[in-house]
Every structure is written in C-alpha cells, then in structure tokens.
C-alpha cells in the first residue's frame, strides 16, 4: 500500500504532448502580428500551460484543501503586488530613466 496511488503513466505523456503543442502554438501566434491581442494570447497560452503543470505534474488536482488554499494565497499575494504597483505607476508621472528627466527639464519631452 502506498500513500498516494501513482498516476497512470500515460497521463504524464499526454500532458507532455499537450505542453509541446501549446509551445508550438504560442510560437506560431507570436510570429503573426496580432497587435493589441498578442500579449493576452501569449499570456493566456502560458497560463494554460502553467495550469497543466500545476494540476498534473505537481498533483494539485488531488492535493489537500490546505495545499490548494496556500497556492490560492500565493496567487492572491502576487496579484496584490502587481495591482498596487501598476496602479501606482499608471497614476503618477515617474521619470523612469535619467534621460527622461533630462528631456523633461530641457522641455523636449
């Protein structure tokens, strides 16, 4: 008897195949000029790939509710970090580089 019955070997190979297909798809879509859609498409595919890795390779699909809560919390904290940082940058006029500052002072900006 084992703690967790091992997963069927084919599920790992199927997951590998899906991840390879998605890698090729993301490359092909990146070569096309999708304009404003290119980033959402690239990140969307990356999120799907990440979900496949987390759920099946990292066995979160069958993990305890407490582990799922910790993962949820880590994503929540990351969202807090990014959201507050971006709202700050979006609502203030930062001089990001010294060259920007020089341009702003000389009135060329």
């Amino acid at each position: 008897m084992s703690l967790h019955p091992p997963a069927k070997a084919w599920t790992y190979w199927a997951n590998f195949l899906a991840l390879c297909v998605l890698t090729v798809v993301t490359w092909l879509t990146a070569r096309m000029d999708l304009g404003a859609l290119s980033t959402p498409v690239a990140l969307g595919i990356a999120v799907i790939k990440a979900a496949l890795v987390v759920l099946f390779f990292m066995h979160v699909w069958e993990s305890t509710p407490l582990t799922k809560l910790v993962i949820g919390m880590s994503l929540f904290m990351l969202t807090v970090l990014l959201t507050f940082l971006f709202t700050d940058y979006a609502t203030r006029n930062y001089d990001v580089l010294p060259s920007d500052h020089a341009a702003a002072v000389s009135g060329k900006h």
Partner: protein, 275 residues
C-alpha cells in the same frame, strides 16, 4: 529516573515499527506527508513573489519602452527558446516519473529518472550557454560594453546569412573575449536614448534567465543528494516527501520558464528578421 524515561521514549519510538519512515511528532504517515508537502508549497509561495518582483519590473519598463523592448526581444532566437522550453518540459516529465517511482517504492528507478532529469536540465543550460556566447558577440550584456548600434547591425547581418562569426567569442574565465566595439559605434549609442532602453531589456533578460539557471543548478545539487539516498533504498511508498519536494521545486522552475519564454523571446517575433 531520567535514564528510564529516555529508555521508555526510545521504546515508544520504536513501537511505530517504521524506522525512519515516521517521525514521532506525527500521528500517521499521511499526516507527515501532507505536512511536508504543505511546507514545500509555502516555500514555493515565497519563490512566486521572488520572481514576481522581476516580472513586475519587466512589465513596467515594457509598457514604458514598448517599441524598443520588441526590437530588443527580436535579437533573441525564438527557435532556441522553443527548443529549450520543450527540453525543460521533458525534464519535468522525467521528474514526474521519478516521483512516481518513489510512490511505487522502486529505488533504482528513482535514481535513473533523476539522472535523466539532470541530463535534460544540463542540455537546457548547454543551449543557454550557446545563446550567451552569441549575446557576447552581439555585445548585449548590460555592462559598459553594451552597444545597441552594434547589436542591431550584427543581428541583421546574421539574419541575412552573411557575416556570421563561425568561431564566435570564447569564454575566458568568467567573461567572453568578444571583439572590441569601434569608437564610432560607442559615439552612435551615446546619442541614441533607445540604447539605454534596450540595455534595460537585456538587464531584465539576463537577471531573469540567470536567476532561473541558478535555480536549476541548485536543483542539480539537491537531486544528486536524493539520488544517493534513493540508491541505498531510503525512500519507501510511505516516506518519499524529499523526492516529491524536489519534484515540486523542479516543476516550479519549469513554470517560471513557461512565462519567461513568451515574454522574453516571443515579444519581438512578429517583427521578422533583421529588426
């Protein structure tokens, strides 16, 4: 008195009958396993925020300097990025099988699958080394040696199939002995504000990929230790948390790359050759 208590504790410990499989502060092997697993996920949470800071910096500068970031990304080879993605995903598959072997109690199979994981991880780093060698040729390391004018010119030449250095720079100590950039290129860069923006992209590129590579190298060390333990049959279907934890760590490293690949390599892929 004290001695007797000690002896008693010793006996109580041995009564579990699992040897090293169950530490005495756990009720059952299940509880012990879930606690160890949770601890590893806690660590990975800190790792998410560790890399998250770099991803945040990337996002801010990318929106600030959108055009130059795309041109800088175009310098990188998406083909090598894609091959490395698949190599790393394959190493995640071999890692998944190492954990599966641990669940089945097949000690020698754990050693073999971890060995395969190290081989494919090393292949990934080998490809990365080739990329860095080319980066040295293009002078895109974000040091005083960085030159955007040179990088774009050499990259365009390379894309059109001529002028490509077949030897390339060699590693001397910790630096590549790349050719010296002529003074007129340095002059051109000093008048071009885009050069600083491109340097920022490469600063982020090298920080993120080298931090990622460092994680892989640490992973190799941990795997090597676990291979020794596994070889001597230390892990059983009741006790394999260390194997599972290094597995989670390795899959996390894979996850980071899954996001780095589109953000760094594919950002400028639509520009085509010579940009």
């Amino acid at each position: 008195m004290q001695v007797t208590e000690k002896k008693h504790a010793q006996e109580a410990h041995d009564d579990h009958g699992h040897g090293h499989e169950l530490a005495h502060h756990f009720v059952s092997v299940e509880q012990q396993h879930d606690a160890g697993n949770l601890g590893m996920w806690m660590f990975l949470t800190t790792e998410v925020l560790f890399f998250g800071g770099l991803f945040a910096a990337y996002t801010i500068y990318r929106y600030k300097f959108e055009k130059v970031f795309e041109q800088a990304s175009n310098i990188l080879d998406p083909m090598l990025g894609a091959i490395n993605t698949i190599v790393l995903i394959f190493s995640s598959v071999t890692m998944a099988f190492a954990v599966r072997s641990a669940q089945q109690g097949k000690s020698k199979a754990i050693v073999a699958w971890l060995g395969a994981t190290i081989v494919f991880g090393a292949l990934f780093l080998g490809i990365k080394y080739g990329e860095w060698k080319h980066d040295a040729h293009l002078h895109v390391f974000p040091t005083s040696d960085f030159n955007w004018t040179w990088a774009r010119e050499k990259h365009a030449e390379g894309e059109h199939g001529h002028g490509h250095d077949s030897h390339g720079p060699e590693l001397k100590g910790f630096v590549f002995n790349s050719p010296v950039v002529p003074a007129n290129y340095i002059e051109s860069d000093s008048r071009n504000p885009e050069a600083k923006q491109a340097k920022l992209f490469f600063f982020l590129y090298f920080s993120m990929t080298s931090l990622h590579a460092l994680h892989m190298i640490i992973g190799f060390g941990v795997m090597a230790v676990i291979m020794v333990y596994a070889w001597y049959g230390y892990y059983t279907p009741h006790y394999y948390v260390p194997v599972e934890s290094v597995g989670l760590y390795w899959h996390f490293v894979d996850l980071v790359w899954i996001f780095l690949f589109p953000l760094l390599y594919l950002l400028g892929a639509h520009l085509g050759a010579g940009h």
